[in-house]
Amino acid sequence: MTPPARWLDLRRHTPARVALGRVGNAVPTSAHLAFQADHAAARDAVHAALDVERLRRDLAGHGLASQLVRSVCPDRGTYLLRPDLGRRLAPHDLAPAPGRLAFVVGDGLSAVAVQRHAPALLAAVVPVLEPQASIVIATQARVALGDAIGAALAATAVIVLIGERPGLSAADSLGVYITWAPRLGRSDAERNCLSNIRPAGMPVAEAARRLIWLVGEIRRRGLSGVALKDDTPYDRSTEVLGT
């Protein structure tokens, strides 16, 4: 039931699940179970809780101070059904964060991504962009929760690192959203985004380079969003993981 070699050769050209072979009209057992395993990893990533204490230790290891907030979402089940609640900040006494840029790390749809890649990315960019920054860690967070945090801190811009919706090929993609002059009611069109940050996607070093460049442009022009970069790829997947 192994496909002939030439059919199998199609796999050289694409990460898509081509040349899977056939048993009757179905895929062979190995391909079936490989799919199930990838879906299981994605489902587990969606429901995993962010290990906040470990994240704080990892940040501290890079010399980065942090504080904790959460959205008004009580649990993950509600989070998935009520994105509006994930954008609202629970009452907090936010400690004033030094500097004009606010950095937020939100669990989003993949705490796994945040746990794995956020400390290294922050360690690479914070010393360049805002050496005194205190990182705000937010749980049950959507991207727009950063607007409330940035406004509360009177930041000129907010940079939100957040776990992206897991796909089958990667459950640990990190996204970064930058919003100039954050305040309630900002739309997605007013943000700039880097996505698919992970070793096999956009490596952390490249993401750091792009992020530093983007923040520089946003500060220089005093705006963010489509007006800054109108060749941003249109991608339905980011539209949904969104806001």
Binding site: P4, H13, V18, P83, L168, A171
Partner: protein, 454 residues
């Protein structure tokens, strides 16, 4: 106008038609998110009873979104055919359900189309169980054509969707060939571009057209870019078979997609003028999906299924070759789980067919919804019995560009075999000539080298 019904001693009042429709809608997360769903199971059934007693002609007097402020409402009412409506004009919504399940046959349903509004179709579907949604849809017959004929009895077509994360031409070509070898591609060979620019779109258009020509495949190709991008490609002479666009059921939803009815008409005219079809002149491809209006804050308090059906009024104004709802793509805040996705897919399919559309369904889910491949198998099988015009074919059901799970080439083979369905006739003849889809190896005429795969 207010509506009311008393059930188990409790009187439920619904202030207007849109709230009656919303309260009567089987539970889904999007209507709860919008704050318009029934507050209890009993209220939902009371609303369904009130809706069942409502004369269909009421829908011609009370618009769910005002005529003055919404061009989709104007399109619906201005093109309504009272003569065609006369066949059901005396019925209530409940009576209409009984008529659909009883006396109505294929020719009667076809004759009714111009007299049926999307709101009437949505309303009656809210009174139906899954088996009703399947049984009535199976009576509808909608046939369209471009380089092959879609929608004939006993046929099931497949959109071959060879997406690649970076639009790499070899990657697209490899997935495309994989799909052809497994019998997919009669509905369309359609790529979602990772980058919506005229340059990237034109590159993909030329690639798809060259593969189609090199292998002499009787099908059509499409790059699912924004309509303005496709128009720019037509202007520069790129080979455009079909114009794609995502559409919704209110003027404001369409604005959120960056389109209006005039732009769609311009695109329709431009693609027709190319005269690239050989067996038919349907040149539009539309995608829809419950939840897009709420997502764009453009729902006007109308439930997501009714506003989805209104998108089909937009579609039918442009005689499309293909329309599909992307039913599970939008996420759990709109359709929470496999149960809700299943019902929505069958509702959308029926409403599209009743309104005369060549309706396919992207049977799909995302990883944050409570759904899996078992749910997809169930919906796919139900849709096959309902006579769905086409489904998606994605390598291994895993779209590596859009990061969601759809149906695979194998799934379509399963469905055709389980229900005795064949591909579109022109495409079936081509497959037969190649010894597909049951060749164990790549036939010589489809050598990968012919399409740049060394």
């Amino acid at each position: 106008m207010a509506y009311a019904h008393t059930l188990h001693g409790t009187r439920y009042v619904f202030p207007d038609l849109r709230s009656l429709l919303a309260r009567a809608t089987p539970l889904r997360s999007g209507d709860s998110l919008a704050g318009i769903a029934a507050a209890s199971a009993a209220e939902r059934v009371a609303a369904q009873m009130a809706l069942a007693d409502l004369p269909l002609c009421r829908f011609l007097d009370e618009a769910v979104i005002p005529y003055e402020t919404d061009d989709v409402t104007r399109l619906i009412l201005d093109t309504h055919d009272r003569q065609a409506f006369a066949a059901i004009g005396h019925l209530t919504v409940g009576g209409f359900r009984d008529w659909l399940l009883g006396d109505a046959d294929g020719p009667a349903l076809a004759a009714l189309r111009p007299g049926l509004t999307p709101e009437m179709a949505a309303a009656v579907s809210k009174l139906m169980r899954l088996q009703d949604l399947v049984a009535v849809a199976a009576k509808c017959r909608v046939t369209t054509g471009f380089r092959n004929t879609l929608g004939l009895p006993g046929r099931l077509a497949v959109r071959l969707q060879p997406n690649h994360p970076t639009d790499n031409p070899r990657g697209v070509a490899a997935a495309l060939l994989d799909g052809l070898l497994l019998g997919a591609g009669d509905a369309v060979i359609g790529v979602n571009p990772a980058t919506d620019s005229p340059e990237a779109t034109a590159t993909l258009l030329h690639l798809l057209d060259e593969v189609r020509a090199r292998y002499a495949i009787p099908t059509q190709t499409c790059v699912l870019a924004h309509v303005t991008t496709t128009l720019a490609c037509i202007a520069r002479g790129a080979p455009v078979d079909l114009v794609f666009q995502s559409i919704g059921g209110s003027e404001a939803t369409n604005r959120s997609f960056g389109v209006n009815l005039a732009m769609l008409a311009e695109a329709h005219d431009a693609a027709r003028a190319l005269q690239r079809g050989t067996v038919g002149g349907n040149v539009m491809y539309f995608e829809t999906g419950q939840g897009s209006a709420l997502s764009a804050d453009a729902h006007h308090g109308v439930d997501q299924q009714t506003i989805e059906a209104r998108a089909y009024a937009v579609a039918r104004a442009f005689d499309p070759l293909l329309v599909n709802t992307v039913v599970g793509f939008i996420g759990p805040e709109y359709l929470a789980n496999g149960k809700q996705i299943t019902r929505a897919g069958l509702e959308d399919h029926l409403c599209g067919k009743l309104l005369g559309l060549p309706m396919g369904v992207d049977v799909c889910y995302t990883n944050h919804a409570d759904a899996d491949s078992d749910d997809m198998d169930a919906l796919l099988t139900l849709l096959g019995v309902a006579g769905v015009t086409y489904v998606m074919g994605v390598p291994g059901a895993d779209d590596v560009m859009l990061s969601y799970q759809s149906t695979s080439f194998h799934d379509a083979l399963y469905l055709r075999a389980a229900l005795g369905l064949r591909p579109a006739p022109e495409f079936a003849a081509w497959l037969d000539g190649m010894g597909l889809p049951n060749a164990g190896a790549i036939p010589a005429p489809l050598a990968p080298a012919l399409i740049g795969l060394g």
